[in-house]
Amino acid sequence: MRKCSLSNSTALFNKIAENATLYIPVDLEKGRVAYKKYADGMKMSDALKTDRSAKDFFFPQTENLMEFKTEGKSIEIIDNRSEAEDFVVFGVRACDVKSLEVLDKVFLAEPVDSYYKNRREHGVIVSMACTRPTETCFCGTFGIDASAPKGDIECYKTDDAFYFNAVTEKGEALLAKLDGVTESSDEKAVNEQKEQIKKVLDKLPLKDLKADEFGADKTDKFFNSPEWKNLSEACLGCGTCTFVCPTCQCYDIKDFKTNKGVQRFRCWDSCMYSDFTKMSAGQPRLTQMERFRQRFMHKLVYFPTNNDGMFSCVGCGRCVAKCPISMNIVKVMKTLGGKNND
């Protein structure tokens, strides 16, 4: 285990930024928190989480896929993919770390998405244990341990220092480069913090939320539940829940005419939108009830069915905090999850 005192954090960040682009969470105006490209002296936010997750680094909201030049009847494809730059995302919480594992299941499955893979290969995740999880947090429901946040380097921040443990080879390589600004340390402070975190987790209002009733092959059990109607009644179909979600991965592909040719790009899309599945001859999800059901069935049943039981929710609580009508996956689970979740 390596340690770096907080008074030395600028030196630490500068050192990381020497070799790779570094992103750290910073406080913005009006209580907003976002990852920003590190510049000398920048102060790291202490907030529990960023408004948008680390998903943006690997699967950005919009990205250029390729370009085309057309002339007469001819077409030229311009493949302008390039090797991503090396980058480090610092301070990623356990839930958001896990969300990358969920996205990997989609984008790294054959046929591999090269855009995503490229960034995954060049990105290093320095996680951060949560000392102050909050009332909207329920990562524990999905077996995630906020006191063991994983990533490439696992990090703990106490009142006076950062503590680091390399988890992967990539993490080891980065940590080795930081020898000059870190020192060897025992695990005492970290073990104490882990104990303290467990105590906080034990007091969270959602600590007893269970996902056991959901999971692989439970489609028949939930699809026709009469509860969907009430649950979805007030849903505005605004898509906010899908855009803030670290595991939502639906996208659209579009062409854009530039003065040089055509750019084909992809952008996030949302199953909550009515035109998502619209066809000339029909629409399989006619009402918001069906679209709403799709979102939660996907996270709690369909995704686990296809991915050895892994849920596509990490309990980050963003949708809980951001839905304008205060509807969310927790309410869905409590309503459909039977007596387990009373």
Partner: protein, 283 residues
């Protein structure tokens, strides 16, 4: 980086032939720029065609894999990409990616079976690929019946091929129908579901038991045909169909085309009826 394969990046191909099949369906032959087939496919698979700046759209590969010279797509004019393609001329380049989807189990479940092909309108596009595959591997399959119907005579896709080749193939029975009486038509008149029932009712029990049906067309036709086949003793395990949902990626990642936990682009578009029944009713 550019030597890493990327499924979303297509290949440039060229349209080498265009045939007007019906007032709103044209069939396009497509080859790579060096004159080869763009891919090897299975009957029932699809490919994503595009004109940059207009968009991408998914189409069944209607030619059979046994065709060694080219691939074909039959395309109904209905929106941006399809209208653009209808206005294109021979020599026009387009982009192609695929093939996508599972295809029909022609080398497994279909082997040795009597085949009953049922199609309505443009639904013949995917079925034609199987029909010609079966005709080209005749020894591997039993008797073949084709029931095909359209609104009118002019809307029968591949009419020339049906008349010149399928009708002249002594190993194949072709049963055509159109929805309403029309001058110059002395064939059957009536909707596909009823006609299928008439044709298949004449099968003896033994033949019914060893028949596999392939069924593609508008949802309403599928619904009533299924009902009819059920009434005369067909099981769901004997009937295959294809689903059509909105698609973007074609590779199970954009999240658009699922029915329950299945992605139609990847796990379909071909489904056996009993498998389809096990999925939620959302297609």
């Amino acid at each position: 980086m550019t030597n890493v394969k990327e499924p979303l990046i297509p290949t440039v191909c060229v349209i080498t032939d265009i045939r007007q099949d019906t007032p709103d369906v044209k069939t396009f032959r497509v080859l790579t720029l060096d004159g080869k087939k763009p891919f090897i496919h299975k009957p029932g698979q699809c490919a994503m065609l595009s004109m940059p700046g207009v968009g991408e759209a998914l189409f069944s590969i209607t030619s059979s894999p046994t065709n060694t010279e080219y691939v074909e797509f039959s395309i109904k004019k209905c929106g941006c990409v399809t209208s653009w393609l209808h206005a294109a001329e021979v020599g026009q380049q387009i982009t192609v990616r695929g093939p996508y989807g599972n295809g029909f189990p022609v080398e497994t479940e279909f082997k040795g079976q009597d085949m009953l092909f049922i199609a309505g309108g443009i639904g013949l596009a995917p079925v034609r690929s199987v029909i010609n595959y079966v005709r080209d591997n005749r020894a591997n399959y039993g008797k073949v019946d084709i029931v095909y119907g359209s609104r009118s005579k002019d809307d029968l896709v591949f009419y020339k091929e049906i008349i010149d080749e399928w009708k002249n193939d002594p190993t194949v029975n072709v049963h055509l129908t159109i929805d309403r009486e029309q001058e110059g038509w002395d064939g059957h008149v009536g909707f596909v579901p009823n006609f299928v029932k008439e044709v298949a009712e004449k099968f003896d029990e033994d033949k019914k038991a060893k028949t596999t049906a392939v069924l593609c067309g508008p949802p309403i036709m599928i619904k009533f045909t299924l009902q009819g086949l059920g009434e005369i003793g067909f099981n769901k395990e004997q009937i295959y169909t294809t689903l059509e949902l909105r698609m973007k990626c074609g590779i199970g990642k954009c999240g658009r085309c699922n029915v329950g936990s299945k992605y139609v682009c990847k796990d379909g578009p071909v489904f056996r009826m009993d498998q389809l029944d096990a999925l939620p009713d959302e297609y």
